[in-house]
Each structure stands twice: as C-alpha cells, then as structure tokens.
C-alpha cells in the first residue's frame, strides 16, 4: 500500500475530474463518428461523399428537391438524431433511477413505466382504428398518458407507505405486472392483425421518426436534463441512504418524488414514439459507472453518451445486418450492449456498485 503525501490528494482528485471530462469529450467525438456512419447507411445506395455533400449543401443554405436531399433529410437524418437523443435520454433515466432508488436493477423498463406505455399503445392500436381517430397520434398520446399514469400510481402507492426506495421499487414491479397482464388480456381478445401490430410496437423501433418528433424529444431533454444535472449532489447523497441524505440537508422524499416524475416524463416522451426500448436504460449507467465512477455530475452525461452510442450502433446494425430489411432496433440493443457489458463486467475487478 503506497502512502500518499497529503497535498497530492487534491491534485489526484482534480486529475480524476479532468480525466472524466476528457473521457466525455472523446465519447462525444466517437458518437459523432457513429452518427456519420449511421447516416450513410441505407438501401438508397448513396455513397458517403454524396451524403456529406448533401448535408454540407443544406448547412450552407442551399435548399434543393434532389433525391439525395429527400433521402438524407426526409428519411435518415432525423432518424439518426432521434436515435441518439432517445439513447441519451433513456440512459440518463436509468442512471437517475438507479441512484435515487439505490437499486442496480432499476430502469424505466424494470419499473413498469414501459409496460404501461405498451398497454396504452395496445389500447390505441385495438380501439383507435375503430373510432376513426388518427391512429398514430392516438398511439403516441395514449402511450404517453399511460406512462405518466403508471408513475403517478407508483407515486401514490409510495406516498401512502412512505416514499422509501424499497416501496417505490416494489410499487413499480407491481405496476409492471399489472400492465403486462392487462396487455395480455387485450391481446387475447384482439385480432391477429392488431396483435401483430402490438408485438411490433413492443419491439421498439426508429422507423416512425420525423423531424417534429425529433424536435419534441430534443425539447424534452433540454428542459429536463439540466435540472437533473443540477440535482447531482442531492442524488449522490440519496444513493447512500435517506438518513445520510437528510443529514446532509437533502429533502429525501421530495427529491426522489421530483426526480421520479421527471424521469417518467423523459421516458414517456421517448418511448411513446419508439415503442419499448428497454435495455439501454439498464445497462448504459452500469457501463458508465464501471468506467468513471458514480458521481452523478459525470455519470448523467457519460451515461447519456454511452446510451446514445449504444442505440446508434444498434440502429446501424439493425439496418445493415440483413440487406433491404430493417430489424427493430429494440431487438438489436441487447445484442450490442450485452457483449460490451459482459466484457467490462469481467474486466473491471473493483467493486463498482
């Protein structure tokens, strides 16, 4: 055990902070590269220089109705940006939930938020066409509303029992089973066509994106993530237990309630457009924690970047694995994420949770 001279502690701490910031910069660069690769992939047969030229032209203000323009701006670019934002947002949600609930298994998926969204979407799919509503809008709205309802349900249950991490996790799991059962119930009576649509929705996919949806998600992220970042120290304290947090001047229950609400708005805002993409919110925070530690000031943005990279890679793979076929990205995220997670899990020997 080497002895460290006292004044080197501060230097060490500052160095470790510097390293984490540098790591974030590197990840941002890598994400940019991935986005560039992603936007050049597709069945239209555009070469990377053609794609680059189209984007540069548009950035210079030259609007055109060319084929390239239609493909890059009409189809690909919003999908790619949406994917990155969705990955970012879901990963941040997972990181915050794992912190405030002190549970390594917490994620939007494991706490029933996603199954509530699936139920909302299922209702819309089955009954939406019948009443002649604009089905897609109905699915999105319903998924969003049910997601918030589920969180509100968790909140109410937890409020009665005291908003401890344990009651919230338990309430979340109950909500998950409840909505899964209700979805199955609907599916049992639904037509084969509807069922297929529901199943496809639960795969999670980026095929339904548009610029408007991308703007909506970007707006949600810009409105919420700065707040979560600002509460980083509070979440750090909460992750050690309520008593410790209270002793350090954190209003534990209120902070957990607020963060939970915000996380559910982010999740709802993303998965109502994509369907359930469950895996990223669970695994991106773990990968990040193994790499840079648990300080929320760094964990929130780094998890976001890792999540964005995972979802973008999964999207690249989902569009290039089988020619002329797009596999739903929700299926691919696990294939991309698990080997990476497994590698780190075996390699990083120190306790990280």
């Amino acid at each position: 055990m080497e002895m460290q001279p006292a004044d080197s502690l501060i230097t060490l701490y500052l160095q470790s902070q510097g390293k984490r910031i540098l790591f974030g910069v590197v990840l941002t660069g890598l994400l940019f590269v991935l986005l560039c690769i992603s936007v050049t992939i597709g069945s239209a047969g555009l070469t990377p220089p053609e794609v680059a030229l189209t984007i540069v032209n548009r950035l210079l203000g030259n609007r055109s109705d060319s084929f390239e323009n239609a493909i890059v701006f009409g189809i690909r670019l919003h999908r790619v940006i949406f994917g990155a934002c969705a990955g970012f947002g879901l990963a941040v949600c997972g990181a915050v939930m794992q912190g405030i609930l002190r549970n390594p298994l917490a994620s939007p998926f494991t706490l029933g938020i996603s199954s509530a969204a699936a139920f909302g979407a299922s209702i819309a799919i089955i009954f939406g066409t019948g009443i002649g509503l604009w089905t897609e809008g109905f699915i999105v709205t319903n998924a969003f509303i049910f997601t918030l309802l589920a969180t509100f349900g968790i909140y109410l249950m937890a409020k009665r029992r005291g908003m401890t991490a344990e009651t919230m996790v338990l309430a979340g799991i109950l909500i998950m089973y409840l909505f899964s059962a209700m979805t199955s119930f609907l599916q049992f009576f639904a037509s084969a066509e509807h069922n297929q649509e529901i199943v496809f929705w639960t795969f999670g996919s980026l095929t339904r994106t548009s610029w408007e949806k991308t703007e909506a998600v970007v707006a949600i992220l810009l409105l919420t993530i700065p707040y979560l970042l600002w509460r980083s120290w509070d979440i750090n304290a909460l992750s050690e237990g309520d008593e410790i947090a209270k002793g350090l001047g954190v209003l534990a229950d209120r902070t957990r309630g607020t963060c939970m609400m915000i996380v559910s708005v982010i999740t709802a805002g993303i998965i109502c457009f994509t369907g359930t993409i469950g895996f990223i919110g669970l695994v991106a925070p773990h990968i990040s924690r193994m790499l840079i530690g648990a300080d929320m000031r760094y964990l929130i943005p780094i998890s976001g970047l890792i999540g964005a990279m995972l979802l973008t890679s999964a999207d690249i793979l989902s569009r290039s694995l089988i020619p002329d076929q797009i596999i739903p990205v929700g299926i691919m995220t696990a294939f991309i994420g698990i080997p990476f997670f497994g590698y780190l899990f075996m390699k990083v020997r120190r306790e990280y949770w």
Binding site: A6, I10, L14, A237, K246, L248, G249, A294, R350
Partner: protein, 258 residues
C-alpha cells in the same frame, strides 16, 4: 450558552411511544453519552435531534426552532453520523469525505472544500485509504470516514450513533480520542449513543440514561453510571473499579436470569 436544547421531545411510531418527555440542553465542549438498553430509543432520539425524524415537542439550535431552519443550513450546524451506509454505490474515501461539504457546495467543488477534506483525511489517518473504495476498506476505517465526513460539515454539534460498534479495541480508542480532541479544539459538542459503558465513563463529560422512554439520569458519568442505575436499566449486576486512573464497569451477572 446553549447549542442545542430539547423541550418535551416525544416520538411515537404507529401508536407506540418510543421516547417521551425528553428535555435537556447541550453546551459547547460537552461530550454527552446516551445510554440505555437496546430499543430504549437512543437512535430515535438522535434522529429527532438531527431532524431526520420530526418529533413532537421542540428542538432548538442556537435558540432557533429546528423546524424553521432550512435543510441546507441545518446540515451546516448538525453533523449526523448513522451506524452505517445503506446504499452500495461505491466511491473513494476522498469522495465520501468530500460529500460532507455538500451543504456548502452547489455544483462545483472549491479549492477551499478540497483543502478542508484533505486536512480532515490526514487528521483521521485515512491518507493510505484516500483513493480506495469505501467498501474495500475495513469497517473501522469506514466508520472513521463517516465521522470524518460529519466533521467536514463543520458542524457545531455532532450526533453519533454507536460510532464504536463493530470496531476492534485499537479503533475504538482511536475514534474516541479523535472525537474528544475535535470537541476540545473546535469547541463543538457531541451527543453519542453508546453501549460500552466503560468508554462512556472514560470519554464522556456527561451521561444521559434513557429508560422506559424517558431520561432517568443526567449528570457526570461517575454519578450516573452507578451499579444501581445499571441494574435498573440493564438488569445486570455490575461492579465498578478503577485501574491506573481509568474507570471501568465489569458486568457480573444478569440479575433477571436468562
């Protein structure tokens, strides 16, 4: 001058009274030992004093009602050290002690904060462990890190819940010496829940005994930790002796039988 005063403090959990009618005052420089058997409400009282729980009655700090002090300001006055950390999320000892500066930090950490953390780590003899994970070090070192964190809050009063539980003999003495010297040097006060009556006798300047939810004894350790009181509270016959100027309490037998 009074740092902390408790007036008719009571706490009831699901209709069961845990503590009742607790009144006392704490002055700077005092090191108060809180004795009583398991489940007597020592921890509950500490939590009420630290506003972790909200009791009936009134707790004041520097003459101001604790309910009216904002959470962040409260954390700059009261340093609460629980028995253990609940979560399992890892961090280095340095980061753990730095957390004590939370009541002063909004987002960025100032060099003043880092300086304080460094001095405290050095004082607690935690330098060799500073970069290690809090869950990789021994229970004794972790306990010291928790106390170091509370000191980093720069409080006027420390609330300690069994700081020497699970510690070996060396660490028990070390932790008690550090706490005593900080109380002396910085003129702060401490209230400590404690089971080890010999340690209380040796280090505390005053002892409170809680029995049947109430304080039944309050005074100098030598006046309060008497065989009579020990028999009433713990149902144990005890013998007091002094070896080389160090008082100690030897339990002889359980007077109630097992």
């Amino acid at each position: 001058m009074v740092i902390l005063s408790a007036e008719k403090v009571a706490y009831t959990y699901h209709q069961t009274p845990i503590i009742q009618d607790i009144s006392f005052e704490v002055r700077p420089g005092e090191f108060i030992g809180l004795c009583g058997k398991n489940g007597s409400g020592k921890t509950t009282l500490l939590k009420c004093l630290g506003h972790i729980l909200k009791p009936e009655g009134k707790v004041s700090i520097d003459g101001k009602n604790l309910n009216e002090i904002e959470a962040r300001s409260r954390a700059r006055i009261i340093g609460y050290v629980p028995q253990s950390i609940q979560g399992r999320i890892s961090k280095t000892v340095f980061e753990a002690v730095l957390m004590g500066r939370k009541p002063y930090i909004t987002w960025g950490v100032s060099s003043h904060d880092l300086q304080i953390v460094q001095e405290i780590i050095s004082r607690f003899g935690l330098l060799p462990f500073a970069s290690r994970d809090v869950f990789e070090i021994s229970g004794g070192e972790r306990q010291k890190a928790l106390i170091a964190r509370a000191i980093a809050q720069d409080p006027s009063i420390l609330l300690l819940d069994e700081p020497t539980a699970n510690l070996d003999l060396y660490h028990q003495l070390e932790v008690m010496e550090i706490i005593s010297s900080i109380i002396r040097e910085q003129g702060i006060a401490a209230v400590m829940a404690v089971h080890d009556l010999t340690l209380a006798m040796r280090y505390c300047s005053r002892v409170l005994i809680i029995h049947n939810h109430r304080i039944i004894g309050d005074g100098l350790p030598s006046e309060i930790l008497t065989p009579d009181h020990i028999k009433t509270v713990y149902q144990v016959d005890a013998h007091m002796s002094t070896d080389g100027g160090i008082p100690h309490i030897v339990p002889i037998r359980a007077s109630r039988g097992f």
